[in-house]
């Protein structure tokens, strides 16, 4: 299973990298989202896969599952998911404002500062 997951992670990363290398702003945003997914899944895979081993303790005080998933990566990923949301929202708004200001979604038109644009 790990091999399949690793390949999936790789595909997600490759797609994300490819998309952030585009010139179109919108595609870069999609790429960011893909990278965020890829990283979460990467952490999850690296943290160790366990079937049905929810890290919960029963009422009697012992672990419910004999082999339980590592809770530490899970806590990490949980925060990563939420932070990822914040980052994506920020990036979205940033790009939106850039688009409103520059009136173009071609990143190559963002290479110069305002001043230089006036002179050119």
């Amino acid at each position: 299973m790990e091999v399949v997951m690793a390949i999936t992670v790789g595909v997600l990363y490759a797609a994300g990298f490819y998309m952030i290398l585009r010139r179109s702003l919108v595609k870069v945003i999609i790429g960011l989202a893909l990278l965020s997914h890829a990283s979460n899944l990467f952490l999850f895979t690296v943290g160790g896969l366990t079937r049905n081993g929810t890290p919960l303790i029963s009422e009697s005080g012992v672990m419910e599952a004999e082999v339980y998933a590592d809770p530490l990566p899970q806590a990490l990923i949980l925060t990563a998911i939420v932070i990822g949301f914040g980052v994506q929202a920020f990036a979205l708004v940033l790009f939106k404002r850039v688009f409103q200001t520059v009136k173009s979604d071609d990143l190559d038109e963002l290479t110069t500062t305002e001043q230089a644009e006036v002179t050119s």
């Binding site: 929810t54 919960l56 949980l78 939420v82 949301f85 914040g86 929202a89 708004v93």
Partner: protein, 135 residues
Amino acid sequence: MRSNILTTATGFLLPLLLLFSVFLLLRGHNEPGGGFVGGLAAASAFSLHAITHGVRPTRAVLRVQPRLLMGIGLWVAILSGLPALLLDLPYLTGQWAGWKIPSIGKLGTPLFFDIGVYLAVLGMVMTIVFELVED
């Protein structure tokens, strides 16, 4: 995006979803759930409402500014760590009351911390959603 059915449905769904989010928050310490998930569930409920009814009515339902919610959440989380300091323990060490409240469970500072997280997440998401959906 106006649809009568959806609009009516979300009107009923909102309280139910909010109730569910509180349920998630409170059971979080022992079962899957917690402040993050609860806050996100509540935020989803409000977002749904905002999409169907528009931002203005949702603001009315929420009553307070989401930014304020964010601040309150942070303060609650910060204050929940203080009791430990009074007992000369490291900041944020969990303190539990000896007794239980029916249907909520044990009372302790981590619960308040989680409530802080819940409020902060709710406030954060709603701030963003309102900003983006508004114009």
